[in-house]
Symmetry: C2
């Protein structure tokens, strides 16, 4: 633990790297998966169980927290770490992505984006400066610049215009961060440019000129498909600075993560394990399980008898099936927990394989066990 | 732990007693509060946390479990203890009360009660024999006879007719239990008779003639009010055998329990702590808290900073308020946990006060702290 934000790589296997991010709130082993704690809670999970799965860091959503309970309120209560009883590192997004996907009557200008809350219709304005102010009020250890995240496909001219706006917002975000942030906190720039190689390169070059301690890859997992996403990573990652963490935002399913790690990504977040868990979908070493399926009604086996995770080990599939059929809280609680354990085990397996120089075999085994072909 | 069901009283203070029920699954310190695990789960709770609050036993509902997932299925999966990952004692009701309150098109005859499932409309018949068969399939350590539970007020003639039916069902239940049960399990008879002293006495006398290792008091907390309930306990408990546990079914709020313990009751169950917890209502040492109330939005204090229970100690009221406002799973999870801890602390306090011969002072302090007048 340190008051400085640092990143060190201690092993590599091809483009894949294993390392450690240090923050004032603790270390983060990379490649890292960050469970999503949208509104100040990883849904249906106790924070001590999130930690017990092996998670070093969770994500909070600026959009949700600014609207409810409000950033100033969280700050007055001692910051997001204390508020949600999570003393370990927290990353926040800028709020921009969710303004565009969740709010009403939004209007984008050079200054920022104005919008109406989806909760109560109240009017708000999110600028690069206000986003950083909110993230600092929350006390996030890793913060994101405000950016625009266009859908794919998009015409190249439009993609470039949007990317350049994000770069201008990156500069403004950095200035605001230098004013408001605390020691040990870090601001990441976000590489945009849709699926255009020249635009991704230009975005990255301009961000590196501004200078950030870490770089996010935004604008992916927006419908372009796994193959296209991997193609973008293949022409982007090799040009990213080797000594800074690379964060692929909003990704993904296990095969997405495995493939992106192999292409040099260090950090991930996704609602998949938590959202799927609430809806009865579990990942297991032998592939997906839809626990609501009638075939599990009499299945006495747990999801993973060898797991140290109580949710994976101590309850039969028949019981989990019953809980979902009966609409009981405990079903989403246990399946979320199981899925988060699965994801952290996935990351631990990748880190160990990179350190051992056997990532290729590890990925081959993953493909064989899960039936995934594109990894 | 023993293969015999036993009950011993080790201290008394007036009519109140402290004791221990032993079952093959473990001991139960009395006076005991049993959290309700309706459908094979204490709602929104992990079983290890139910246990950590101090609960020695939980209740399962025969009506719910027979309909979903089905008693034969639970038996095939190793019984209810294994199914719900609760290796400690379990008490089941007979199903009769919930047939009358939840099912459709029910018809009561001498044989039993036929009804339609509230879940899928399927037709079922619950007789004294089938109720016991189900409770034995579930593997309940303490089982209840099928009874009829009329509302109060009820005319004395009708109440007597109903009580006599329950007595005949008690006999049939006992015969079925002797055939189907396992060593260490116990069947309780249920005293009925509405709020008529002569009927309660007659019911008790007839049940004692049949002979049971424990006696329940049914047909209370059905709208008669706390004062009337206490009056029934006052003319019923003194005639109940001193060497058998007394179980007041479906009761109650903290003041109900304190008052009933003072009148000689040993066992309680109620959905109050779990249901209220899911709806944002907490009990605390200084009275009730409606956590959704706006006044808690900025309250940095936890519900009980001195509690060993994480739910009571590690989260501010402001955070709990936020969770309920945002509709997050964690709100009901934490408030249920807190309430169950409050109830178990209440029981522990009563047991200690009885042992120390200072129940009167203890109740006076309870009244002063909570503002309750009728205890």
């Amino acid at each position: 633990m340190t008051a400085q934000f640092t990143f060190s790589v201690d092993a590599a296997d091809g483009p894949a790297r294993r390392g450690v991010i240090s923050t004032s709130k603790g270390d983060i082993a990379t490649p890292a998966f960050m469970p999503v704690g949208t509104a100040g809670t990883v849904k249906a999970m106790l924070p001590e169980h999130v930690r017990a799965t092996g998670a070093d860091i969770v994500l909070g959503n600026t959009y949700h927290l600014m609207l409810r309970p409000g950033a100033e309120r969280v700050a007055a209560l001692g910051g997001l770490h204390r508020f949600m009883n999570w003393p370990h590192p927290i990353l926040t997004d800028s709020g921009g992505f969710q303004v565009m996907s969740l709010s009403k009557l939004r209007k984008l200008t050079e200054d920022g984006v104005s919008f109406q809350s989806h909760i109560d219709g109240s009017r708000h304005m999110l600028t690069p400066e206000r986003s950083i102010e909110i993230q600092c009020l929350l006390g996030a250890d890793i913060q994101m610049q405000l950016d625009e995240c266009p859908a794919i496909p998009i015409a190249e001219d439009d993609a470039r215009e949007s990317m350049l706006l994000s770069v201008r917002w990156a500069e403004r975000s950095k200035r605001a961060f230098e004013e408001k942030s605390a020691p040990g906190q870090a601001l990441f720039g976000i590489v945009q440019g849709a699926n255009y190689e020249t635009l991704r390169r230009e975005s990255l070059d301009r961000l590196m000129e501004i200078g950030f301690p870490g770089y996010s890859i935004g604008g992916l997992a927006v419908g372009e498909g796994r193959g296209e996403m991997f193609r973008v990573l293949e022409f982007t990652c090799p040009h990213m600075p080797a000594d800074r963490p690379r964060y692929l935002m909003g990704v993904g399913k296990p095969a997405d993560i495995v493939g992106a790690v192999a292409r040099g990504v260090d950090m991930f977040d996704c609602v998949a394990p938590t959202r799927s868990g609430r809806h009865g979908q579990a990942w297991t070493k032998s592939g997906p399980v839809n626990i609501k399926n009638a075939k599990y009604a009499d299945d006495p086996e747990p999801l993973d008898p060898a797991s140290p995770c109580p949710a994976s080990r101590d309850y039969s599939k028949a019981y989990l099936h019953h809980l979902f059929r009966a609409g009981e809280y405990l079903g989403p609680m246990l399946l979320t927990w199981h899925n988060l354990q699965y994801y952290q085990d996935l990351m631990e397996g990748l880190r160990a394989a990179i350190a051992a120089g056997r990532l290729g075999e590890h990925i081959a085994a993953f493909k064989a066990a899960t039936g995934e072909t594109l990894v």
